[in-house]
């Protein structure tokens, strides 16, 4: 994780170097042509506001470069922001260096980049919007109605327990309003403890990640998969009756049973099986729904022995 991040910063740093050289050149030529103002000649309010604008715009650029992979959208956003930073920093230079009226090129440096910047940003944001739609399509079955990256599971790219709780609260209200049943399935791996013991936690994490993909493949468009904790996953099934949920749970169980995951070191198959529990959410709060679901899992595990 750490390595990919440094690589990305390196990959993008061309923009930062280019921008720094352009700004340095602008300041250098202004210094050659003009005269530096005395302290009492400075308009502090202007210095402060224009300085703040430049700093903030630089912050936006850094965020964009750090968070996004390369590609057209990133290029457009970076070019647009770089032009804005350049223009604003030339504006700021004005506050410190007085240029004779005969120097016209400096006004150009201040004003010309702005139309470029706005055009590049507009096209960039338009494509960003398209990109978000494409990514959202891939997030089907992992989220519904709202996205909150802070609630994503730390390990697996699906919602964690807090996201699950919020989502359940929303869906319970929705199901009451529309008079449609809301079902939940819990999927819990059998003896995952032993797998962690035998293959190590890193391998256990890999199994959970693979399993998450497997479960997603077996779900319908409207279902949402979240990870409650450890090896227990919960599926929210809007507009679903008990019977349908039960047969879906059987399918998930069968999918886990026939999943032939291979251990990284021995390349042997790790045999997996899961217990499932199904419940319908009534008018109660989310905690009592989870309680019923958890007891269902315990009962299913007892039948196992």
């Amino acid at each position: 994780m750490y390595n990919t991040l440094t690589k990305k910063v390196f990959f993008h740093s061309a923009y930062l170097y280019g921008l720094a050289i352009a700004i340095a050149a602008g300041i250098f030529f202004s210094y050659l042509m003009g005269e530096v103002k005395e302290w009492h000649q400075l308009n502090l309010l202007d210095v402060f506001s224009e300085g703040a604008m430049t700093v903030l715009a630089s912050f936006w650029l850094l965020l964009v470069l750090r968070s996004r992979p390369g590609g057209r959208v990133t290029q457009l956003l970076a070019i647009g922001l770089s032009c804005i930073i350049f223009s604003w920093s030339m504006d700021l230079t004005d506050e410190f260096i007085r240029l004779p009226d005969s120097v016209v090129w400096h006004t150009w440096l201040e004003s010309l980049p702005i139309p470029f910047a706005l055009t590049a940003l507009s096209i960039g944001i338009y494509h960003w919007h398209k990109e978000e739609l494409a990514i959202s399509a891939q997030m089907v079955k992992r989220e519904r109605d709202f996205r909150e990256y802070r609630l994503f599971d730390k390990l697996i790219p699906i919602g964690g327990a807090v996201y699950l709780r919020k989502q359940l609260g929303i869906l319970i209200k929705e199901s009451q309003k529309n008079q449609k049943p809301l079902a939940l399935i819990a999927v819990d791996l059998d003896n995952f403890n032993y797998i962690n013991r035998k293959y190590g936690i890193a391998e256990g994490d890999n199994i959970l990640r693979a399993l998450c993909q497997l479960l997603l493949l077996n779900l319908r468009e409207q279902d949402v998969l979240c990870r409650l904790a450890g090896d227990r996953f919960v599926v929210l099934l809007p507009d679903t009756h008990q019977g349908v949920a039960e047969s879906l749970a059987e399918e998930l169980k069968a999918a886990v049973n026939s999943f032939a995951y291979k251990d990284r070191h021995s390349t042997e198959r790790v045999f997996l099986s899961a217990s499932t529990a199904v419940t319908l959410a009534g008018t109660e709060d989310s905690d009592s729904v989870f309680k019923r679901l958890n007891i269902g899992v315990l009962v299913a595990k007892q039948e196992l022995v």
Binding site: Y2, L155, N196, R197, G200, I201, A229, G230
Partner: protein, 348 residues
């Protein structure tokens, strides 16, 4: 009443005796496997990866607690303590770990865990008492952990014992879980790792199990091998050089003399220390004389209630309280609950 206390083989927060390749290495491995940078992880621990790998380095409880704090800060995952707990036992801690595989019932497991606490759980002392039906296992800070670290340690030790008993017995025993703190935000970790028999805001954090379950043998005892590995464990403990923690020693002294008028001076005298030194030592372990005395009295009250079946006035009498109101107030201070809650929990 014992007059003085043996000072040999006692460890304090800064005594270096925990092999870095034992429990600390498990935690380091867990953090590294989840993408934590090793330099950040070991910052302030005065330890590096090469030293852990050398299997020669011993660290102090303070260093280990710093490692736990770094892990909690950097990993920010709710399941760290539980995953760490799953790996803790039997562990790879020499003969003491091997001994678990020679055992034939859970009682032996619990006894071994308590007897070899300095090796198996150096930061948290494991203790137990029992009545006719139940065994009560509880854990106490013995090296000055703060609240967050203590929660981490208790979660991981409970997970460790239960996960090992699942593994050895091949079945889920009906453990009951009591926690002295309020229900945490990440309650789902407790559901998945511990099940449904969990309750919060209890007088103390402990595990309860019906005796019938822990006395059932899952295998026949191996006479020679079992004896040999226990002897090896004994040797391992004597080679470790320490046996019990300073805080445990203070606690034991207070428990033994709980019916006397104990004060800081008497305690210091028994430990052959000046009161000022005693005070400083307790402070070093993040506690005070009053806190330790309250802890000893609280645990005595709970013990008398569960084991001796004492009534509420009998307990007050035993602990030298003449005034019931005074006892009620004190009990509330020790546990955060009035004594009546203890008596309402007749069904354990």
């Amino acid at each position: 009443m014992k007059n003085t206390v043996q000072k040999n083989s006692v460890y304090e927060a800064d005594t270096e005796f925990i092999p870095a390749h034992y429990q600390p290495a498990l935690l380091v491995d867990l953090a590294l496997s989840r993408g934590v940078d090793s330099r950040d992880l070991l910052r302030g621990v005065r330890l590096n990866l090469e030293q852990i790998k050398s299997a020669q380095k011993v660290i102090s409880a303070e260093q280990f607690l710093t490692l736990i704090q770094n892990t909690q800060k950097l990993l920010k995952a709710d399941d760290t303590s539980f995953l760490y707990g799953q790996m803790l036992l039997p562990g790879l801690f020499g003969a003491c770990s091997q001994a678990f595989q020679q055992m034939s019932n859970c009682r032996q497991v619990i006894d071994h865990l308590c007897d070899y606490q300095a090796i198996l759980s150096p930061l948290l002392s494991s203790r137990r008492f029992e009545n006719e039906d139940y065994v009560f296992i509880y854990w106490q800070d013995c090296t000055g952990a703060n609240t967050e670290q203590l929660k981490f340690l208790i979660e991981s030790q409970m997970t460790a014992l239960v996960s090992m008993s699942d593994w050895l017995t091949g079945e889920k025993l009906p453990w009951q879980y009591h926690f002295s703190y309020a229900q945490p935000d990440y309650i789902e970790q407790y559901w998945v790792n511990f099940g449904e028999e969990i309750s919060f805001n209890r007088q103390m954090s402990m595990l309860l199990i019906a005796k019938a379950h822990i006395e059932r043998n899952w295998s026949n005892e191996t006479m020679v091998g079992g004896e040999a590995v226990l002897n090896a464990s004994r040797m391992q403990l004597s080679q470790l050089g320490v046996r019990t923690s300073f805080l445990d020693q203070v606690y034991d002294y207070l428990i033994q003399n709980i019916r006397q008028q104990i004060n800081l001076d008497r305690l210091s005298e028994a430990f052959l220390l000046s009161p000022a030194t005693m005070k400083r030592k307790l402070k070093k372990h993040n506690t005070s004389f009053q806190q330790q005395l309250d802890l000893a009295r609280r645990n005595t009250a709970i013990y008398l209630f569960h084991v001796e079946g004492y009534s509420y006035p009998q307990i007050a009498d035993y602990l030298q309280f003449n005034d019931m109101n005074n006892f009620r107030r004190s009990f509330k201070r020790w546990t955060g609950f009035s004594p009546s809650t203890l008596f309402n929990e007749l069904s354990v």
